[in-house]
């Protein structure tokens, strides 16, 4: 029992000694430096993970010419989408008219359709088969 107490005391003394060696203040050192040290010891991994790398915080610069080209491309894409929509609805069914909506049966007379004067058959509609 006595031996065990001696070993424990020696261990505690060595730990305390190590602590005091680590935390020995030097001349003119702030007496509260341990608060800061303990704070940064906890978060150092997250703060150091981007070391020796380039953190990309880029912004979008306004370029008049590039914006113009982008608008033109958007118009081209939009026209293509419209053409595809017409091609897919070339039988007179309108995708937004569901069955019996507001008492309506879903069919629109030909001359009331928005695309009635556009060709129902041909290159624009891509419909070469079901023309009857």
């Amino acid at each position: 029992m006595k031996k065990l107490l001696v070993v424990c005391a020696a261990f505690i003394f060595s730990q305390a000694n190590a602590q005091s060696t680590n935390t020995m203040p030097v001349a003119d050192q702030n007496p509260n430096y341990l608060q800061s040290q303990q704070h940064y010891m906890l978060i150092k991994d997250s703060l150091l993970q981007n070391f020796n790398t380039t953190v990309q915080q880029t912004y979008q610069a306004y370029d008049w010419y590039q914006e113009k080209r982008a608008r033109k491309q958007a118009r081209i894409n939009n026209r293509q989408q419209v053409r595809l929509a017409y091609a897919n609805n070339s039988f007179g069914f309108q995708s937004f008219n569901h069955w019996n909506q507001f008492g309506y049966n879903g069919f629109t007379p030909f001359f009331q359709q928005p695309n009635c004067f556009l060709p129902q058959i041909g290159y624009r509609s891509r419909n070469w088969f079901y023309w009857f």
């Binding site: 981007n50 070391f51 020796n52 953190v55 915080q57 370029d63």
Partner: protein, 197 residues
């Protein structure tokens, strides 16, 4: 059967000729130091100019002589975070590596590893504790501590109207004493471009 086979061979040959004729891509090796500007964006010439300017400034400035005079040994530097705040994706490693190489080649500045590479080194050291022989095992706690940290930023200013554009890049690097937070050196490189579409 023979006729079909011959037709197939002829068709394949003709197709190969036609397709090879369509491919008009030409690739040539160029000197990496040659200045070729294509789009006006950040390119290898900008990176090289930055590396040259920064290396020249950091080696020639007074901080190096001051440190050596005060401490009696060469300073040790660690590379910190470089923040790209410009409008383009720019990888700073292309010019930072040139700078690090200059530190090592001139033997005027010591360099310690940082970031993911340092993590890998520590992981290797940890692996050694259980797998390497005692005589070759490397110990923890004997790393070289850095005296200075090198941090930086990349900024840009864009002015564009119709088909004309000016872009100015500003690359700043700062060297700070880790113990005292004193900034001992600031290097900068400005690159301005005029682009007409």
């Amino acid at each position: 059967m023979k006729k079909t086979f011959l037709s197939f061979v002829m068709l394949t040959t003709v197709s190969a000729f036609v397709l090879s004729g369509c491919a008009n891509r030409k690739v040539t090796r160029i000197d990496p130091a040659e200045q070729i500007d294509i789009s006006g964006s950040w390119n290898s010439t900008d990176s090289r100019l930055t590396a040259e300017a920064m290396t020249k400034q950091i080696i020639a400035e007074k901080w190096l002589a001051n440190h050596t005079a005060a401490k009696g040994k060469k300073p040790v530097v660690i590379v910190g975070v470089i923040t790209n705040k410009s409008h383009e994706h720019i990888e700073s490693e292309t010019f930072m590596k040139d700078l690090e190489r200059a530190f090592i080649n001139t033997q005027l500045v010591g360099l310690v590893q940082s970031g993911k590479k340092r993590e890998a080194l520590r992981a290797e050291k940890a692996d050694m504790q259980t797998n390497a022989s005692v005589s070759t095992m490397k110990k923890f706690g004997l790393e070289n501590g850095a005296d200075y940290i090198l941090q930086g930023s990349i900024n840009s200013i864009v002015d564009a109207y119709k088909k004309q554009k000016t872009v100015t890049y500003q690359i700043d690097l700062e060297l700070t004493n880790i113990e005292t937070n004193e900034v001992v050196w600031i290097g900068d490189k400005k690159i301005a471009k005029y682009v007409k579409n």
